[in-house]
């Protein structure tokens, strides 16, 4: 099936098999390997991207369902060579260790801050419920998001 998607501001027209997940499409067809796959049950959040502005898990969306939509992946977050405030905040606050969950965390956080630019600690923690990190104990991830929220004001 043919799909037309805009990924990180660039249009792509691709032929995909109907059962291909959006995560696999991004990784295997567009070679955007920053979107990671950590589970098969949309529980870990490593594959989170934004689809028409909403943070979603791309492992449980089919590529064909994304036809006609606008997608941002971790690779498209920086603009004009400038890191997104979330990216800088994650580095500044040691919000990552092995880096595998990081793209999903940052994309989830970007969806979270879009909806709620002033989240409390509790709101951030609840907002991250769908994302596993096994390295940081979430301490510095929550801090990173708090700092990013502050700097985006």
């Amino acid at each position: 099936m043919q799909i037309k998607v805009s990924v990180n501001g660039k249009e792509h027209i691709s032929d995909v098999v109907p059962m291909m997940s959006l995560a696999s499409y991004l990784r295997e067809v567009l070679l955007l390997t920053g979107t990671h796959i950590g589970c098969d049950t949309s529980s870990c959040g490593a594959c989170t991207i934004t689809l028409d502005g909403k943070a979603v898990k791309s492992c449980t969306i089919l590529a064909v369902q994304a036809d006609g939509s606008e997608i941002t992946t971790i690779e498209g977050l920086a603009k004009n060579g400038e890191m997104h405030p979330l990216q800088s905040a994650f580095k500044e606050n040691h919000g990552l260790q092995c880096g595998f969950c990081t793209p999903g965390m940052i994309m989830t956080a970007s969806g979270l801050l879009d909806e709620n630019p002033n989240p409390s600690e509790d709101e951030i923690r609840h907002g991250l419920e769908g994302n596993f990190c096994r390295c940081t104990g979430y301490h510095n991830i929550v801090k990173s998001i708090q700092h990013a929220a502050e700097s985006m004001k």
Binding site: G38, C39, G137, V142
Partner: protein, 785 residues
């Protein structure tokens, strides 16, 4: 002068991770690459009567299918030999790459299907017909050693791998416990855990027929060890023709130390088909086949005299090792476990007795802490329980039993009853600081109040010690390790004074690229941007034993320090020649050699250039500035600390909320405080996971019923508070950086602190103990029975 050491330098590796440019194994695509999918046993124990691959082979895109008949003579070895008490060698049945004759746990590899696409491989897996004869199963270690229990391996009577004992003679310990004025006795279950690195394991093998060379890309914590084991013990390949590359690895926590059957299999397959082949685990496979951790069933007793002094401690456990021996499985319940039974107490008599057992379950091996969290839970949970029973304050009970402070320089190390000699320690110091952070008096007041409003507050302590920085090769060799445990560190100074450092320590989240560069830059007095850290490729790095047991900086860092010493020593010869001075009159500081008492000096960069353009050069001195060293530690290192958990138990639902977590750790000198704090945070989270949430469960047929993230509960962001951390510093006296290691401390310390806090909250209701994970259901049942 320190420009970098001790500072929270931001991590240089982060740039690639936050932009999605990390390079994990599954991100790689090789030309002509095929995909491998496994047929896995749906039964915990079954005879394989027949495998019919005809329909699967005919499936479009299928390249080849292999079964145990094709490669069953290849098996992965165990890396540590532990003998029976009577001296007999441990039982070590073969661990084939694909099951031969019998499958012994759910998920065991039965056949490998290779196809042009992953989808074709997976579809063809469904077409492989395996005729099984189901056999009775046993998953519990205690049940497995009973007479008449199902036999996992035919030639291992009662499923006993070995029995093991460490400490003082048993009769002396028994006598002391019998005559103690108080004995606290508990049964423990250190439940089985799944490590769950978020990156699933992934392997790509690429055999080059023209050069007769293999390249294996693997998500491992120790590429050289994998190459050594695979070449020398599994496939019999020439080691110099095998390159193992481990780029970015998405977490390990122990589970990526081991040489897995899948890893050797893809390498073998690549040669058979003459094409690259990739296998990436999915999460279900990860639950079934990544080595698990813990799974000990224990009875332990601690005897006290009238003054609260411990007179004796004895532990008896069955350790479940699963269906096969994983690489370091045998070391975990023995030398990494029994040796921790001293804790930070002066206990004069200790006996630890372990029986290691095969069952029809996934192999068990080291998971963050490896044997030490199990012992620390036993020890520290007994301490808080004893305090409750004897109506003593848990803090005071610890203080009267602490080993007094010793720095290992002016005072000697502390000889334990269980083989180890602690290097340095000051246990009161971390306890004092943690109590200060807590405000203990105020807490007890709050606790009284909480009991009147349906929320039960509790506090738990854990004054842990651990042994890491593994380890002196001669010592571990005498204890059965089949490898040395040194590390290599190679420093190559380039002609322009830029420095490439090659280390055998692999980094998969620990930030070596930053913290190693910090001490290298400081030692040479050059800008940190002039230093590059290279790891994870056997063609670049001389050798390495890898990253586990909190050993990277203590062992790998020390190896680099040795090479830096050699560079400074040789540099001094060149500098003396250029400055026309005696070597003895020079001092090296801030990146230059200066003739003492003068302003005559030469920079590190000029010396480097001279070494490579040796026109005006000391006679007889070799050109170049490039040294490789191996460092074999003289002892383990012994970090310690105090962890305090404050929990609130909901009287109506039994839900435990972690309100505060205070950690004051002493990990020796610290190169990068930000990274060390991060290690503690992550370690604590995993320790909390064991206490409250996690546990692998098998049903009565050996089926794993916690095989997905819907059933296996790991800590999520809203399960945890911000952690309150601080540090004390007692340097390690026996390595050049004075560092001890921080990777596992959090996990080792946290679990008992949390479990103790729950008991402190509810013991006044007459509840004696609750096994982990302490779920709301278990608490509710205990409160309502």
């Amino acid at each position: 002068m320190s420009n970098y050491i001790g500072k929270s330098i931001k991590r240089r590796e982060d740039n690639r991770f936050i932009t999605g440019k990390g390079k994990y194994t599954d991100d790689l695509v090789l030309t002509g690459m095929t995909h491998l999918a496994f047929v896995r046993s749906p039964y915990a124990h079954a005879k394989i009567k027949n495998i019919n691959t005809k329909a699967a082979l005919a499936h479009p895109g299928v390249v080849a299918i292999y079964t145990g008949d094709d490669c069953g003579n290849f098996g992965v070895p165990c890396g540590w030999q532990v003998n029976f008490k009577n001296g007999d060698t441990m039982k070590e049945p073969p661990h084939p790459l694909l099951a031969v004759g019998k499958a012994r746990h759910v998920g065991e590899n039965v056949a490998a299907v290779i196809a042009e696409t992953l989808q074709a491989a997976r579809d063809a897996v469904e077409l492989v017909e395996v005729d099984y004869d189901e056999l009775p199963t046993v998953t519990d270690a205690k049940a497995a050693i009973q007479p008449g229990a199902p036999q996992v391996h035919d030639d291992v009577p009662n499923n006993i791998v070995f029995d093991f004992q460490i400490g003082n003679p048993k009769d002396e310990v028994n006598a002391a416990i019998e005559s103690a004025s108080h004995v606290t006795k508990l049964n423990f279950k250190n439940q089985r855990l799944s490590p769950n690195a978020i990156e699933p394991r992934s392997y790509i093998a690429d055999y080059d027929v023209n050069a007769d060379k293999y390249t294996l890309y693997t998500s491992t914590q120790n590429p050289h060890l994998i190459r050594l084991l695979m070449c020398a013990f599994v496939l019999g390949l020439p080691e110099h023709k095998v390159r193992v590359i481990s780029h970015d690895v998405g977490g390990g926590f122990g589970s990526k130390i081991y040489h897995y059957t899948e890893e050797a299999l893809v390498t073998w397959v690549s040669k058979q088909i003459g094409r690259p082949v990739k296998w990436t685990s999915d999460r279900s496979e990860a639950f079934l086949t990544d080595a698990h951790g813990r799974d000990h069933v224990t009875t332990a007793e601690m005897g006290f005299d009238d003054n609260g002094k411990i007179v004796a401690f004895r532990v008896h456990s069955e350790a479940n090792l699963g269906a096969y021996l994983s690489t370091f499985s045998t070391a975990c319940p023995t030398y990494l476990h029994g040796t921790l039974a001293q804790g930070c107490y002066t206990t004069p008599l200790i006996n630890v007795d372990i029986t290691a057992v095969f069952t029809n379950t996934t192999p068990v091996d080291a998971y963050r802490g490896a044997g030490r969290p199990e012992m620390t839970y036993i020890l520290e949970h007994l301490m808080d329980t004893a305090a409750l029973e004897m109506k003593r304050d848990p803090v005071e009970l610890r203080r009267i039993n602490f080993i007094p402070a010793f720095d290992g320089v002016n005072q000697p190390g502390y000889q334990t009853q269980v083989a180890l000699q602690y290097d340095s320690g000051n246990y009161h110091a971390t306890l004092d600081r943690a109590l200060e952070m807590l405000d203990y008096k105020q807490f007890r007041k709050d606790q009284e109040e909480s009991r009147t409003n349906g929320k039960l507050l509790g506090i738990g302590f854990s004054t842990y010690i651990e042994a890491c920085g593994i380890a002196p090769s001669a010592v571990v060799g005498s204890l059965g390790a089949r490898a040395g445990l040194y590390e290599s560190g190679h420093v190559r100074v380039q002609p322009t004074g830029k420095v490439s450092v090659f280390t055998g320590s692999h980094s998969h989240g620990q930030g070596h690229e930053t913290s190693y560069a910090q001490f290298v830059a400081d030692t040479l007095g050059i800008p940190i941007d002039d230093v590059d850290i290279i790891h994870g490729d056997t063609n670049e790095v001389a050798f390495g034993m890898g990253t586990y047991g909190s050993r990277s900086l203590a062992v790998g860092g020390s190896a680099i320090m040795k090479s830096l010493d050699k560079i400074i020593e040789k540099g001094a010869k060149i500098a003396a020649h250029k400055l026309e001075a005696a070597e003895a009159d020079l001092e090296f500081a801030e990146g230059k050699w200066t003739v003492k008492g003068t302003d005559k000096s030469i920079t590190f960069g000029d010396v480097s250039l001279t070494a490579y353009v040796p026109h005006d050069y000391p006679a007889g001195l070799e050109p170049g500035l490039d040294f490789s060293s191996f460092y074999d530690p003289t002892n383990f290192t012994y970090p310690f600390g105090t962890h305090i958990a404050v929990v609130e138990v909901d009287k109506d639902t039994g839900k435990v909320s972690l309100k505060r977590f205070i950690a004051c750790d002493d990990v020796g000198n610290v190169i990068n405080p930000m990274i060390v704090d991060g290690q503690i945070h992550g370690g604590v989270a995993q320790g909390v996971g064991q206490a409250l949430l996690e546990g692998v469960v098998y049903d009565e047929n050996g089926q794993m019923i916690t095989g997905s993230y819907m059933d296996y509960a790991m800590p999520r962001a809203d399960d945890l508070p911000f952690f309150e951390t601080d540090r004390k510093v007692t340097p390690c006296p026996h390595n050049p950086l004075g560092v001890k290691g921080a990777g596992e401390a959090g996990t080792i310390g946290a679990t008992p602190a949390v479990a103790n806090a729950v008991m402190d909250a509810i013991s006044h209701l007459g509840i004696k103990d609750i096994q982990m994970p302490i779920t709301p259901e278990r608490v509710w049942r205990a409160m309502n029975s």
